[in-house]
C-alpha cells in the first residue's frame, strides 16, 4: 500500500478556489468515512487550512486509478463541476512522502519555515486517528513526518529567528535586557503594528504597558486591551524615567523624541539601557539619539532588514533540508520492503490476512 496526496495550495490555486474546496472541521470525520467506504482510500487524513486543502491517503489501488477516484470524490463532495487543471496536484510515492515532510517542516508554507502548519497537521492526523481512519501506513508516515520536522528544527536554521517586524523587536529586547519580566513598555501612538509588538512583548513577560496617543480615548481603549494604563499625550515624557522599551508609531510630521529631549531623560534614568522601536513613517525619533550611550534605536527599515536576513538564511537552508527529507523518505519506503529473499507470497500470514 502506498501513500498518495491530492490537493491544492497557495502555490497552485487562488484563495477563491481554495475556499471552495475547504473542509469544515466538524464535517471531516463524516467525509473521511465516506472516502474510505467509497473505496478510493484505505486510510486517509484531510488537511484543510487557509493555505492548503489536501487529502493524504494510503491505497492499494494503482496510482492513476487512485488519483481519478480521489479527484472525483473531491469534486463531488464540494459539488464542483468546472474543469480542473493544474490547480490540483497529485503525488505518488516517493514525492507524496517528500511533500508530507516538507509540509510538516513548513518548507511548503507561504512564510517559509513557519511552525503553525505542524500543529495543524498534527490536529488533522489526530482527528483521523480518533475516528480510526488511519492504519499502519499513514501512522508510520505521519509519525515520521513529525520526527523529520523536529529534526530539521533542531539541526538546521530553517525555523530559526523571526520573519515579522514585531517578533524581531521582541528578539532585540531579549538581546538587550537580562529578562523581559517587569520591563516597562511605552506605546506612543496606537497603531496596528505597535499593538502587535506590545502584545508580543507581553507574551514574553513584559509587565507594565503605558499607552499614549493623541486621541486619549483610543489610548484608553488600547491600554484596556493590553492590560496597561493610558497617559495623556502631553505627559508621556514624565513617565519616561522608568521606561525600558518604547514603541513609537504616531502620525506626527515631526520628531516626537529628539536627542535634546532624550539626553536629560537618560541622566534621570541613570543611563539604564533603552530600546527605542520607531515604526512610524515619517519617523518619530531623531536618528541621532542612537549615538547616546545605552540607547538602541531601530526604525522600521532596520527591523525589516533583520527579518529579511532571517528569511534569506531560511532560504539558504532549503537545499540542506531537502537532502535530509529525501534521505528520510527513502528510509521510510525502505523500511516497508520485505527483507531480500522473502517475497510477499512467501511471508507467513498473520491475523486476518
Amino acid at each position: 500500500m502506498a501513500v498518495v496526496v491530492i490537493g491544492l495550495s497557495h502555490h497552485t490555486a487562488p484563495v477563491t478556489l481554495r475556499e471552495r474546496f475547504a473542509f469544515a472541521e466538524a464535517r471531516v470525520p463524516e467525509i473521511l468515512q465516506n472516502l474510505c467506504s467509497s473505496g478510493a482510500a484505505d486510510e486517509a487524513v484531510i488537511l484543510s487550512t487557509c493555505n492548503r486543502v489536501e487529502i493524504y491517503a494510503a491505497t492499494s489501488l494503482d496510482e492513476r486509478n487512485a488519483f481519478a477516484k480521489l479527484q472525483a470524490f473531491l469534486a463531488s463532495i464540494h459539488d464542483y463541476r468546472d474543469p480542473l487543471g493544474d490547480e490540483i496536484y497529485t503525488l505518488g510515492e516517493p514525492q507524496s512522502l517528500h511533500h508530507l515532510f516538507k509540509v510538516a517542516a513548513g518548507l511548503d508554507s507561504m512564510v517559509l519555515g513557519e511552525t503553525e502548519i505542524l500543529g495543524q497537521l498534527k490536529k488533522a492526523y489526530d482527528l483521523s486517528l480518533q475516528h480510526s481512519h488511519t492504519g499502519a501506513v499513514l501512522n508510520k508516515a505521519f509519525q515520521k513526518a513529525f520526527n523529520v520536522a523536529k529534526h530539521l528544527r533542531t539541526e538546521t536554521n530553517i525555523q530559526r529567528g523571526s520573519v515579522s517586524v514585531g517578533s524581531v523587536a521582541v528578539e532585540l529586547a531579549e538581546k538587550i535586557f537580562n529578562a523581559l519580566d517587569d520591563r516597562h513598555v511605552m506605546v506612543i501612538g496606537a497603531g496596528d503594528t505597535s499593538e502587535k509588538t506590545a502584545r508580543a512583548l507581553l507574551s514574553r513577560g513584559a509587565r507594565s504597558i503605558i499607552v499614549s496617543n493623541r486621541s486619549h480615548e483610543r489610548a484608553v481603549a488600547l491600554a484596556q486591551e493590553l492590560g496597561g494604563r493610558a497617559v495623556h499625550f502631553e505627559e508621556w515624557a514624565a513617565e519616561f524615567e522608568k521606561i525600558d522599551i518604547v514603541i513609537s508609531s504616531t502620525s506626527a510630521p515631526h520628531y516626537v523624541l529628539d536627542r535634546a529631549k532624550l539626553e536629560p531623560l537618560m541622566h534621570r534614568r541613570r543611563n539604564r539601557a533603552l530600546l527605542l522601536i520607531d515604526i512610524a513613517v515619517p519617523r518619530d525619533i531623531e536618528p541621532e539619539v542612537n549615538f547616546l550611550e545605552n540607547v538602541y534605536l531601530y526604525n522600521i527599515d532596520d527591523l525589516q532588514a533583520i527579518a529579511d536576513d532571517y528569511l534569506k538564511q531560511r532560504k539558504d537552508e532549503i537545499a540542506r533540508c531537502e537532502a535530509i527529507i529525501t534521505e528520510k523518505a527513502q528510509a521510510l519506503i525502505g523500511s516497508r520492503r520485505p527483507p531480500a529473499g522473502i517475497t510477499p507470497s512467501a511471508r507467513p500470514a498473520f491475523g486476518h490476512e
Binding site: I176, A273, N294, D309, Y310
Partner: protein, 274 residues
C-alpha cells in the same frame, strides 16, 4: 628544554590557543554560530598539553606548581581553560571559546616571558602564608581575566546592537545586561580577593620586617587595586556602566598583563636570584 618537557608542552598548548584565537576570527565573522566544535577541540587539545605541563612540573617538584610567576600564570590560564571546557559541554555556551582563546593566548605568551620561571627555593615567603598570598592573587587575576572576557563579549554585542547587525539577534550571545552584570560581579570578586591578598602580604611583610611600601611590585599592586576601585566607584556611584565599564574591565586586565612582568622583575622580593 628537552622533548616532552613541561615547558615544551606548555608552548604547544599556547600555540594551540593561538590557532584557536585565529580561528575565532572566522567564528566571529559568522556570528558565533558555526564550527564552534572545532574551536572547542583546539582548546581541548591546548588544555591536555597544558595539564600535562602542570603535572610534569608538579611531579618534578613534589608540590603544587604555583610558586613562581610562570607557574602562577600558567595556573591562572589553566583555571580559565578548564572553566571554559566545562561550560562548553553545553553546546549553546561553546561560542565562549571565541572570547576565551585570545585571553588564553595573552596569558600564555605572558607566562613565557623570560625571567618569570625561576627556582622558588630562594623565595622570601614560605609555608602557609605564601600559599594564601599566591592563592588570593591567582584567583583575583583569574577573576579579572574572566571579567575581561565578559567585557569583550559585551563590547562585541553592544557594537552589533548599535549598528543594527543581523549578528546581534542571530548570535547565541547572552543579553548585554547579563554580560554587564557578570563582568561587574567578577570584577568585584577579583577586587575583594586582591584586597585580601594585599592585606595578607602586608601582615606577613611586617612580620618579616620587610620594607613593604618601597617594593615596586607592591606599589604596582596597590596601583592595580586603586584602578579597579576607581572602576567600581565609577560604575556604582556615577552610573558609568555599559560600554565604558566594559572597556575598563578589558583595559584593566590588559594593563595587568602588560606590566605584571616588568614590575616583578623590578621587585627584589618577587625576583629572587636563581
Amino acid at each position: 628544554m628537552s622533548i616532552g618537557s613541561d615547558k615544551l608542552n606548555f608552548i604547544v598548548a599556547v600555540i594551540l590557543y593561538g590557532v584557536s584565537a585565529i580561528y575565532s576570527i572566522f567564528i566571529f565573522r559568522k556570528g558565533f554560530r558555526h564550527d564552534n566544535r572545532i574551536n572547542y577541540c583546539l582548546l581541548l587539545g591546548g588544555f591536555l598539553f597544558h595539564t600535562a605541563a602542570l603535572f610534569q612540573r608538579g611531579f618534578s617538584l613534589n608540590r603544587c606548581p604555583i610558586h613562581n610567576l610562570y607557574e602562577a600564570t600558567t595556573f591562572i590560564g589553566w583555571t580559565m581553560v578548564t572553566a571554559y571546557l566545562c561550560l562548553g559541554l553545553w553546546s549553546r555556551l561553546r561560542f565562549l571559546g571565541a572570547f576565551a582563546s585570545p585571553v588564553l593566548l595573552a596569558v600564555g605568551v605572558f607566562a613565557l616571558m623570560p625571567g618569570l620561571d625561576v627556582k622558588s627555593e630562594t623565595m622570601v615567603f614560605s609555608g602557609g602564608w605564601l600559599s594564601l598570598h599566591v592563592a588570593l592573587f591567582v584567583l583575583a587575576y583569574a577573576a579579572f581575566g574572566l571579567s575581561c572576557v565578559a567585557g569583550l563579549m559585551y563590547l562585541t554585542q553592544e557594537h552589533d546592537l548599535k549598528f543594527h547587525k543581523f549578528r546581534a539577534v542571530f548570535s547565541l550571545m547572552p543579553p548585554i545586561q547579563r554580560l554587564e552584570l557578570v563582568s561587574g560581579r567578577l570584577l568585584v570578586t577579583g577586587f575583594i580577593l586582591l584586597t585580601g591578598g594585599l592585606i595578607v602580604s602586608a601582615l606577613f611583610a611586617r612580620q618579616m620586617n620587610l620594607r613593604f611600601a618601597a617594593d615596586p611590585k607592591i606599589v604596582w599592586s596597590i596601583f592595580v587595586w586603586a584602578l579597579y576601585l576607581a572602576l567600581i566607584i565609577m560604575r556604582w556611584k556615577f552610573s558609568q556602566g555599559g560600554r565604558r565599564f566594559a572597556w575598563g574591565a578589558v583595559f584593566g586586565f590588559l594593563f595587568v598583563l602588560l606590566t605584571f612582568w616588568g614590575s616583578s622583575l623590578l621587585s627584589p622580593i618577587h625576583k629572587p636570584t636563581p
